[in-house]
Amino acid sequence: MSVDDIVKAQSIADSAIATMQRLEIPATPANYAIWYEYHAGLSPNLQRTIDVLISNRESFNETTLQDLYATFFSTAKEAQAVREISVHALATLQEIVGVADLASDDAHQFGHALQGFASKGLEERFGNLKNLIVNLVEESKSMAGRSEYVGIRMRESAGKIEALERNLENAILDSTMDGLTGVANRKSFDAIIRKSAGEAMNSGDDLAMLMIDIDHFKRVNDTWGHQTGDIVLRHLAKTLQKAVRGGDHVARYGGEEFAVILPNTNGQAAVSVAENIRLALAREPIQIELTPPITPTTVSIGAACYDPGEPLAEWVGRADAALYSAKRDGRDRVELNECPN
């Protein structure tokens, strides 16, 4: 491999890693192969397909990534692709550590970072990645040299690898579900409203959203502690799930705010779903003995119907505005944001 090739491979690898970080894509060899190829510009079809996905703000979930890989890297090519990527990554590393003094602290730290990465208990799902990293570690061990610049580059790369490692862990932990309450998380909420709104735009059917916020939640945390706060969140999530129909979606929007997506539901019907939620909370309060006794949980709810053709952020914003009105008018109530039309 010539010096030019190495420099070029490194800059492509850098771009690939940066893009993967930005799009929060797990660092598997298959994904690395996709993004290396994308930046190398070797496959115009792959590039255009990915550009379509990016320009439509479509998230790169597991299915999409698997489809990309299956479409553009045939099984026969797979082993070779991973090997090539490995070679490119190695070239990058060689350039970085090629003249580094491996006895130096930097090199040791880098080696440790890589080894730490490889020894994480993710073999089953990401075995290939481990192999890749092990290769890199072995390779970096066999190199020697000295340079200030190289030390700097090494720290940068170690940082990037750590960031990728965090991405990987995040991707495993918070795929689509909120860990505490078991309902959809924010990321999958975004996907849900896109899908629901797309269908509503096609069919002309109604589509409504509820934004639900626990009243005085800070007071709960401050008075009875965060564990009690968690119990309150779980209790509300359960209440919401019981109050909705099969095709509806419950999501934790963030903090103490939840969202419910209601297909085939107009403003008035959405308000009555919201009222049912409010009444269900009053009817079935949390059963825990605390000193002082826990005050009943109440919620403020904002409702808004999707107006086809409006930006989704605007729809969410209108539901939020209704929620704000409900709060302002005294809490424990439902407010509807009338559709502009």
Partner: protein, 126 residues
């Protein structure tokens, strides 16, 4: 934009989608016509070739992909910029659309901003 930005054909079986798209294209000074399936769209193209086609995928009688294939085989049918506009978000559909001559791909739901972004790509891509 000039007095007219061009002639746009909206191909979608959803009346609502056509209404929303018409509003946006009219605002952008396009002349607009509509077709509720691929066959009607093809007939319209034969009498007057549009500059832009906003094309749904799933339609009765003739779907968007069939229309696109036929259009590109028609005399002068390589001229129009075709933007697929669909709820299909998977790699296979995107691939098929691009491979058969679509210029761009817009996912529903769309709004004025996301549609304009695609028009910019179609008309000003280097």
């Amino acid at each position: 934009m000039n007095a007219t930005s061009g002639f746009c054909l909206l191909v979608d079986d959803s009346l609502l989608v056509r209404k929303i798209a018409r509003k946006i294209f009219t605002r952008l000074s396009f002349e607009v016509d509509e077709a509720e399936n691929g066959q009607i769209a093809l007939d319209k193209c034969q009498s007057r070739m549009p500059d832009v086609v906003l094309l749904d995928w799933n339609m009765p009688v003739m779907d968007g992909l069939e229309f696109l294939k036929s259009l590109r085989r028609t005399e002068g049918g390589r001229g129009p910029a075709v933007i697929f506009c669909t709820t299909e978000t998977d790699v296979e559909h995107i691939q098929k659309a691009l491979a058969n001559g679509a210029n761009e791909y817009l996912m529903k739901p769309f709004d004025q901003e996301s549609l304009i972004a695609k028009l910019d790509l179609v008309f000003f891509r280097k």
